[in-house]
């Protein structure tokens, strides 16, 4: 490959644009220390036209579309002393070489600072957001869900090991109220096979966790918050690969690379991943028992035997970047596949054998971004995706099994049948196909440096069909279909005032949802019974609004305030009911509404001594949910048809606070400590007789409400080899005990958990190869996210990372 084509451009698309109708030129430069070594990752900035570039590892940079004339160029990096120089652009291509003075700080430290600057930019915008950087974590054997779980205010509740079912709790809100996005696109577009379970951190640039108040570019009916995973886009012309192996036969591999031809702008990005685990970790304790033929318990220690998980996927995007007609234009294909065995249901007391799901997804996408479109300051973006998702749930094994994976034998010597015909319920081989289209378009217009309007519109439609091969043919013909269409428009106004001290973002969102129900029915026509279709549509519209503001009080102290009237649209079951689950329809059901408020601050860094400093973040929050959709309780249980609708009856309130302290010493020792405590309370005060409920303002059961996480890191430089780095870390996670029912008895209380991990990684001098080792849950404690579901015990993992930049 031609090396002269390879220059990294970290420049943000907003600032990179072409003046199509005026004469412009290109600057190609090199930054060098006075000893001749290249200055990598320095920012080159022309302030008059707001053009940025970053130098690559060889110190090279490129700035395009610079109007003819004289310009002042500013070069900055922690490695160098600040340097300004002027250049004259009088021809299409100008070459320049700059010598710079070395500063005191090291090269590695600078990489970290660069990574955090993007993080702090998002975190300072006023939203209650934390940004999880995956750069360092991707070197070790972490799962994406591990990273989220260590983050402040996020609780990931997983039903076992790698690949198992996951739910996310953000500041006390969970389930349907939390939406997950990948690059701003709802994760349902990609399907189960391309989920946070399967995407390795190495493919992720960063994860943004928005709590309660969600910016317009993630417009969706996310009542409680949103998790947005940003996949890697950054560096061009590189290749990275990693391979890891560990306990429970866990294997993970991923590779990603990109190429850009700097003449034509042609760009290709590709990545692939493979995950596998037997998840055959040991479980024990009061929930792990074999039931003998006479019904007595035999408590056992056993390995999980029906819990293997495999996922694989690939993503390729090809197009043009930083060309005259587009900042980004990509056509892409994403394919993924997974296989997931299911060991048990809600509780691990009854082991399953032979229940599994398989899913595949094919996603075709088109992406277009252009800044200064038609006029200066107007950026447009468009993203379209068509996805074909297939899923099969397979459960046909009729017998009971014990924790040793053996058939349970009854008193009469025969194997015992499962009470409902198969492991979890009735026998099923249910094929569920979904066709999902998502189109998002948006425009951003900068009136001036200080004022900006953002508009975004999302269209989402899903057609779902299912076919259960275990149902008779005539029954299959009478399964209805449900098609959902959502349109969400959002408009925001952003202002940066008072010498950039005050930032505000005011927004409104308008939601439209239509669900079409089609149920086949039999009608009599001319004395003959024929199949017909019963169609009903439900249309719901609603609006929400909010704001996010930040104010810089003094140097390093930023106050953050955000609030939103957030909504969640009712789901198809909540509207149309589900005869199989005895739910009847309620076409008139309204969306759930929640008033969410966050108030907090970010402060620091404060210099303690010349070598140590710390930063603090703290935030309080309130989630006041009304019209919560709950199942109606029918007092007349003996009614002929025992069915009930969903209603807008519930009210809950979640109030709490969270905080984070980050301490660093000498650039090679750091401690991160965060905690989150909240009360999700029952919020209906009076019964119909005017008496106050005892639960009023009481903590809802089955919610972990107090968690602490900490990460301690220590780095050695040049310990074994020159220019090598050895990093050690120690992590602990604490979850306080909580009751799982209103009945506060010890049997329904989870244990207090204190899980500790240690690990190290070694960066070889070339910085191409990194080797890491992790020991998780070092004391083999029983770990639980969900009541009566044990997570993996002690595990050891080894990982190799290899990357080539510049080829």
């Amino acid at each position: 490959m031609k090396t002269n084509l390879t220059l990294i451009l970290f420049a943000s698309a907003i600032f990179l644009s072409g003046y199509a109708f005026s004469q412009t030129g290109k600057v190609s430069g090199t930054l060098k220390f006075n000893d001749g070594a290249p200055v990598a990752f320095a920012t080159v900035f022309i302030s008059t036209i707001k053009k940025h570039a970053l130098s690559d590892e060889r110190g090279r940079y490129e700035l395009t579309d610079i109007p003819f004339g004289s310009h002042q160029v500013n070069v900055s990096s922690i490695e160098i002393q600040k340097h300004d120089f002027s250049i004259l652009i009088d021809k299409p291509s100008v070459k320049v070489s700059t010598m710079l003075e070395r500063a005191a700080d090291s090269e590695l430290a600078e990489v970290i600072v660069e990574a955090e600057s993007h993080k702090s930019e998002i975190e300072a915008a006023g939203f209650a957001v934390n940004v999880i950087e995956t750069k360092k974590a991707s070197l070790n054997s972490f799962q994406t869900n591990d990273l989220l779980n260590k983050s402040v205010g996020v609780r990931v509740r997983q039903n076992g090991g790698l690949g198992s079912q996951v739910s996310y709790n953000l500041n006390g809100m969970s389930g349907n109220s939390v939406r997950i996005f990948i690059d701003g696109v709802a994760i349902s577009t990609y399907g189960a096979s391309f989920s946070l379970n399967s995407i390795p951190p190495a493919l992720i640039e960063r994860i943004e966790v928005y709590k309660g108040v969600i910016p317009v570019h993630l417009a969706d009916d996310a009542l409680g918050g949103a998790i947005n995973v940003i996949l890697k886009k950054g560096a061009m012309n590189n290749l990275t690969a990693s391979l890891s192996y560990g306990s429970f036969n866990t294997q993970q591999a991923n590779v990603s690379g990109s190429y850009r031809n700097s003449n034509s702008g042609f760009t290709v990005k590709a990545s692939g991943f493979y995950n596998y685990s037997d998840n055959d970790y040991e479980v024990w304790g009061k929930f792990v028992r074999n039931i003998l033929a006479n019904g007595r318990y035999e408590y056992v220690r056993a390995k999980r035997f029906n819990d293997a998980y495999r996922s694989a996927g690939a993503n390729i995007q090809a197009g043009f970047t930083n060309v005259k007609w587009a900042d980004q234009f990509y056509l892409g294909v994403n394919v993924s596949d997974d296989y997931n065995e299911i060991q048990h249901g809600t509780y691990m007391t009854i082991p399953y054998k032979g229940r599994f799901t398989e899913s595949q997804a094919k996603v075709f996408s088109v992406n277009y971004v252009k800044s200064d479109f038609l006029t200066k300051g107007l950026e447009i973006n468009f993203n379209g995706m068509i996805s074909d998702r297939k899923e099969v749930v397979n459960d046909t094994v009729r017998w009971n099994y014990n924790w040793f994976g053996e058939q349970s034998i009854g008193l009469n010597g025969d194997p015992i049948l499962r009470p409902n015909g198969a492991q979890q319920g009735a026998p099923t081989i249910n094929h569920i196909n979904r066709n999902i289209s998502t189109f998002r378009g948006g425009a951003t217009y900068d009136f001036s440096e200080k004022h900006r309007m953002v508009f975004s519109h999302m269209y989402y439609t899903i057609d779902r069909t299912q076919r259960d091969l275990m149902r008779p043919a005539r029954e299959r013909e009478f399964i209805g279909t449900r098609d959902l269409t959502k349109n969400i428009s959002a408009l925001a106004y952003e202002a940066t005032l008072f010498e950039s001290k005050f930032k505000t973002n005011l927004f409104g969102k308008y939601y439209q949802q239509q669900i079409d129900r089609m149920d086949p029915i039999l009608v009599t026509q001319n004395g003959e019974t024929v199949k017909s279709e019963d169609r009903v549509a439900s249309k719901n519209t609603t609006s929400g609004y909010g704001l996010a503001t930040s104010y810089v009080l003094n140097k390093g102290m930023t106050i953050l305030l955000s609030a939103e009237k957030a909504v969640r649209m009712p789901s198809e079951n909540e509207i149309f009911g589900s005869p199989g689950e005895n739910i009847i329809e309620n076409i008139g059901i309204r969306p759930e509404v929640s008033n969410n408020l966050n108030l907090g601050f970010r402060s620091g860094p404060y210099q303690l001594t010349s070598t140590s400093k710390f930063t603090i973040y703290a935030s309080g929050f309130l989630r006041d949910t009304k019209d919560k959709i709950v199942r109606k309780i029918n007092p007349r249980l003996n009614d002929a048809v025992q069915t009930d609708p969903f209603e807008n009856l519930g009210k809950t309130k979640s109030i709490g606070f969270e905080g984070e302290i980050n301490y660093t010493w000498n650039e090679n020792f750091s401690v991160l400590l965060n905690f989150s405590k909240f009360n999700s309370v029952f919020n209906i005060q009076y019964d119909p007789n005017g008496n106050e409920y005892n639960y009023y303002n009481q903590q809802l059961p089955n919610e972990p409400f107090f968690t602490i996480n900490s990460t301690v890191q220590y780095g050695f430089k040049n310990l074994i080899q020159d220019r090598s780095a050895l990093n050690l870390y120690y992590i602990f996670g604490f979850v306080d005990r909580f009751y799982t029912t209103w009945l506060e008895i010890e049997d329904f209380r989870t244990p207090r958990q204190f899980i500790q991990d240690i690990g190290l990684n070694y960066v070889f001098p070339s910085e191409k190869l990194v080797i890491s080792a992790d020991l998780k849950n070092i004391f083999d404690q029983q770990a639980y996210d969900n009541f009566a579901v044990q997570k993996p015990g002690r595990g050891f993992y080894l990982k190799l990372n290899y990357s080539i930049n510049k080829f």
């Binding site: 009854i350 043919a473 029915i521 409920y693």
Partner: protein, 445 residues
């Protein structure tokens, strides 16, 4: 406080309903008056709300008082503040020993669903759980339906009907069967639980066919519950909840012409030879809900209530040949002069006298009805009825001599224990039951 129990005397009192009843003629006065216990515990159970008022899904608490205390309106019982939590995620399925000294529970759903446990009643909020637990979920699921037989606290019967499918449903072996449709059937499980030893004594699993014609129309047994032992103790009579499928679409039908009420009769204790008997009098189900729905009378006949009955609940009679006596017609609609009467729970007392908890068309709340099964008369017992009084989760009465003890609390309001005299149909007020918003008392054990 240590209590002395005359266990076999109390046991004898209840056995009298079985053994001594042969001395009484049909409908006449009993020759031997029913024996009252000298003293016994009266245990009240209350259901905590879960997410919604009155749903009872927050768990169950119990509290015990002496019989004297139970009869005294000055006694204040506050099960929610002073009671003991029974280990069940949802409303417990409680039963008590005939002398009230032991409580039996099978946890309903949750991590311990199907787990049978025994509690010794010490008094007040003190209950001691025996250290042996037995779990029937392998056979009967984690939400089993079960009842104790009136056989001297020896046996509990749990029932389950699983995996109702068409005969020509695809299987893994035969994914595209060409067999024509004949029936929908599930697999029935009948299980005997040894209450003394805390272990499973016996179980059977089989299909229970209806007639060819009934099955061809899509009728099937959807649920089994409400079992009762006959006088000869050689047959178990099991109540049914029927369902009909639309054979053309496979969908469950809501509104259809119901068959005559059916019971399943099996040999006891082997559970072999299941047969189905059908009433021509009533068309409702008779599986009950969380409590006994069929009782062996002093006259050795079985009396069975019906629900979801198009003509309102009936009391049916099954004679000593284990067949419906279709000459016995007792309609609650007719006897009360109301429509849509539904028996939510009922209790046979003695000598053909019984009490039922009913709802009916146009009524907001539930009512207590005194019934004379021999005279086929019924009347509403004079009690302080309240619009929030619901009996849908009611599951326990205590019969002591001619008295029947019941808990009477509207949802979220205080109520009382009432002692109902089965000879007169009169209620006397007992201990006050202190309630909490959204909660209700669900029974006496």
């Amino acid at each position: 406080m240590k209590k002395q129990f005359l266990n076999f005397l109390t046991l004898g009192a209840l056995m009298s309903t079985v053994a001594l009843s042969s001395c009484s003629d049909n409908g006449g006065d009993p020759i031997t008056p029913p024996v009252e216990t000298e003293d016994r515990f009266i245990t009240v159970a209350g259901a905590l709300m879960g997410t919604n008022p009155g749903d009872g899904n927050g768990g169950t608490m119990v509290y015990s008082v002496t019989k004297e205390e139970a009869k005294d309106p000055d006694t204040q019982i506050s099960v929610y503040t002073e009671g003991f939590g029974v280990k069940s995620n949802r409303t417990a399925r409680l039963q008590s020993s005939e002398d009230g000294s032991t409580l039996f529970n099978i946890a309903y759903t949750g991590d311990n669903g199907g787990e049978f446990s025994r509690y010794t009643v010490i008094g007040g909020g003190n209950f001691v759980q025996s250290d042996v637990s037995v779990n029937i979920s392998q056979y009967a699921g984690t939400s089993p339906r079960w009842l104790k037989l009136y056989d001297g606290d020896k046996t509990g019967i749990a029932l389950n009907m699983a995996n109702i499918t068409a005969n020509n449903a695809p299987t893994e072996a035969d994914p595209n069967p060409l067999t024509p449709f004949e029936y929908y059937r599930g697999v029935a499980t009948i299980l005997a639980l040894d209450l003394e030893e805390s272990l499973i004594r016996n179980y059977v699993q089989y299909e229970i066919p209806l007639t060819e014609e009934e099955e061809a129309a899509g009728h099937t047994i959807f649920r089994l519950d409400g079992s009762v032992l006959n006088a000869a103790e050689d047959k178990l009579i099991i109540g049914t909840w029927m369902r009909k499928y639309n054979v053309a679409t496979g969908e469950t039908e809501g509104d259809y012409e119901r068959l005559g009420t059916k019971s399943v009769v099996v040999d006891y204790p082997s559970f072999a030879n299941p047969t189905v008997i059908t009433s021509t009098v009533a068309h409702g189900d008779n599986s009950g809900y969380r409590s006994h729905y069929s009782y062996l009378g002093d006259d050795n006949n079985i009396y069975q209530a019906t629900e979801r009955d198009p003509a309102g609940s009936h009391i049916l009679k099954i004679n000593q040949n284990n067949e419906y006596d279709n000459s016995y017609v007792f309609s609650l609609n007719d006897a009360l002069g109301l429509t849509g009467v539904t028996i939510e729970a009922w209790q046979y007392a003695q000598n053909g006298k019984a009490f039922a908890l009913i709802s009916h068309d146009g009524a907001e709340n539930g009512f207590v009805v005194w019934m004379d099964l021999n005279a086929k008369t019924a009347s509403i017992v004079d009690l302080p009825y309240d619009p929030d009084l619901e009996f849908n989760q009611y599951q326990g009465f205590v019969v002591d001599g001619t008295d029947v003890y019941m808990a009477f609390t509207p949802v979220g309001k205080n109520g009382n224990i009432y002692i109902l005299d089965s000879n007169t149909g009169l209620a006397s007020k007992g201990a006050t039951l202190v309630n909490q918003p959204g909660n209700h008392y669900i029974g006496i054990f």
